[in-house]
């Protein structure tokens, strides 16, 4: 498992950027990384003024790859220029079901992340970078730890980096298994040794973050974009995807019932058909696609006819779903939708931190009621009740019932499947069995 096999084809005519070192032997070592052009972006960045770098990233259209898709350059510009310490927190607590790009990047190319983090800190004039790595990623943590050590040895970290006069310290920490730590304010709580429960905002972390200091929180893949923007320039970056708001390279985490799951890199905005059929080798066993989850477990499901939908932030946002963390999950036509959606509800019930009542109690009721429907101890009215519970746990407007997006995330699998597959929910409520050819909830090809 130390060298992860790379069998992934990429989009036609596309040259890999973020995953270019995946599969290269020992690319996690600084010598190999440098021999492949690594740290050139940092050297170039240190010749530039910090404000130029912030503008560059702003103009690149880079949006956060962790889930929210917030403009990275804009986030950087919110940080007030107060006296140090000022922090960068690298969010490596990737736990969104279906997402596995950060693990790949940490295990195979940790220096890319370290380089990006140093440039980020220089651009925003931050004094310390803190890498928070998901507890389960033991190998990724080990590799990142050594990458940081090597970066110190080469003078990329520490005092007076490459003679620029700029100094930066780096810290690493491992989580211990909590989905909510991927939420930026909960992550800060975890770092401060508290129970990781989201904070009420404002103030936002840019102003009051780690230890109450100005803090930038960016995810692993977001930061991995930064060295390439600096090194290869704006024009190149804007040539990928659809400028101005959906640009750059993107790692599609394709999983579920397809022939070729894995991390597939391409420009932002390829279509579902290109991803699932051309790159992913199609639905397995020659089956048809029943449902498609476009942006991780938290996004609303699409039906199996969505082949021409472009996978980018604004297209999916316009369809009342989202690109989220970039995880695409395929469900074949022998799958029971209510069962699969309930599995996700169980996840959110387990991971709800318990701070906000609508989420803590709502996710529990969703699971209870969904199980009653699955067991056939319910009727059509219970499907309505399920929908209305789910529809009322909201983060954003109009409901604003929870402090973080987990509230919303927990419900989209229920609301979107009742909207589109109400017949399956009703069938379950009435008969207590799955409307699949075998009567089983899932029919994997083992």
């Amino acid at each position: 498992m130390t060298e992860r096999a790379v069998k992934q084809p990429t989009a036609k005519g596309y040259e890999k950027v973020l995953t270019r070192n995946v599969g290269v032997p020992r690319a996690y070592d600084i010598d190999v990384y440098e021999s492949r052009g690594g740290y050139a972006g940092l050297k170039k960045a240190l010749q530039m003024k910090p404000a130029e770098l912030v503008d560059l990233v702003k103009n690149s259209g880079l949006r956060g790859r962790g889930g929210a898709g917030f403009a990275t350059g804009l986030k950087w510009s919110f940080v007030p220029n107060t006296p140090p310490p000022r922090y960068l927190v690298v969010n490596g607590d990737e736990s969104e079901p279906g997402t596995f790009h950060d693990r790949e990047l940490l295990e195979n190319d940790p220096h890319q992340l370290v380089e990006g983090a140093i440039i980020t800190c220089y651009a925003v004039n931050l004094t310390a970078a803190c890498f928070y790595v998901r507890g389960e990623f033991a190998l990724g943590y080990h590799r990142l730890q050594r990458a940081v050590k090597q970066a110190y040895e080469r003078g990329y970290l520490g005092k007076n980096i490459l003679g620029s006069g700029y100094s930066l310290e780096a810290y690493l920490i491992q989580g211990a298994g909590a989905y909510i730590c991927g939420e930026e304010s909960a992550l800060l709580e975890s770092l401060e040794g508290n129970r990781p429960m989201p904070r009420s905002r404002p103030p936002f972390p840019a102003v009051v973050g780690l230890y109450g200091r100005p803090t930038v929180v960016n995810s692993v893949e977001t930061i991995c974009n930064v060295p390439h923007i600096v090194e290869r320039g704006l024009e190149w970056y804007l040539s990928l995807g659809t400028p101005p708001r959906n640009t750059g390279p993107f790692i599609y985490c394709l999983s579920g019932q397809v022939n070729n799951p894995g991390n597939h890199e391409g420009p932002l905005g390829i279509t579902v058909g290109e991803l699932v059929n051309d790159i992913g080798g199609g639905v397995w066993g020659g089956r048809k696609m029943k449902a498609f989850i476009p942006g991780g477990a938290s996004s609303a499901w699409l039906n199996g006819e969505c082949w021409d939908v472009k996978l980018d932030f604004d297209t999916l946002g316009g369809m009342k779903t989202m690109l989220g963390s970039g995880a695409q999950i395929v469900l074949d036509d022998q799958c029971c939708v209510p069962h699969a959606a309930t599995r996700l509800s169980e996840f959110y019930n387990h991971e709800s931190c318990g701070k906000c009542t609508p989420c803590r109690e709502g996710t529990r009721w969703i699971v209870k009621l969904a199980h009653r429907i699955l067991d056939g101890e319910a009727d059509s009215k219970d499907v309505d009740t399920l929908f209305s519970i789910a529809d009322r746990i909201g983060f954003g407007p109009p409901n604003k019932m929870t402090l973080c997006a987990l509230g919303d995330a927990a419900t989209s699998c229920i609301t979107s499947t009742i909207r589109q597959w109400r017949d399956e929910w009703e069938y379950h409520a009435k008969h207590g069995k799955c409307p699949t050819p075998t009567g089983k909830p899932v029919n994997p090809i083992l």
Binding site: E136, Y171, G193, Y211, A340
Partner: protein
């Protein structure tokens, strides 16, 4: 059993490493668990004392995080992912097979103290599903019934000193 001298030294090193002392509490708990196998009241009190925290403030972390154990587990903890991507590729069959084969249910330990089965939430191994995480750190991916059987046999044959969370399957050079 009190924490070993080495674990206490590692915790002190963690306290010195981070910009603020309180950040070290989570690393300290992981160190203590690696040393003792679990975090009962005794261990929690000891970490709290080293961290200069109220034991309650430490205990509420132990009850929150999935990877921190309140009671002893088997020598090998098999955390099988049950979330959507693995579920769609046969995770339930894997969990069922493990239960049949080992004769214990989820969150239970075999009478010989060798194996504990857990169902994990998404392990970020969706492209290589189904998957399990062994002792919180070693991924076993692309599982099949045969692969699970082979894994159990291989684990039974592992020499005793190779068990435990601190033995990683890769060398320092990897």
């Amino acid at each position: 059993m009190p924490l070993s001298e080495q674990a206490r030294a590692e915790i002190q090193a963690a306290i010195a490493y981070y910009p603020q002392r309180r950040t070290a509490v989570l690393p300290a708990l992981r160190i203590a668990q690696r040393d003792q196998g679990f975090l009962g009241p005794e261990q929690v009190n000891e970490v709290a004392e080293l961290m200069d925290l109220d034991p309650n403030a430490v205990h509420m972390l132990v009850t929150f995080y999935d990877m921190l154990y309140r009671e002893p587990k088997g020598k090998y903890v098999l955390g099988v992912c049950k979330n959507i991507a693995c579920y769609l590729r046969g995770a339930d069959q894997i969990i069922e097979h493990l239960q049949d084969k080992l004769g214990v249910g989820l969150n239970e330990t075999t009478p010989d103290g060798m194996f504990t089965i857990r169902a994990f939430e998404c392990l970020a191994s969706c492209g290589t599903a189904p998957a399990l995480l062994l002792n919180n750190e070693e991924y076993v991916e692309n599982l099949s019934i045969e692969k699970v059987d082979a894994l159990l046999e291989a684990l039974k044959a592992r020499p005793p000193e190779a068990a435990g969370e601190h033995r990683v399957p890769w060398g320092t050079n990897d």
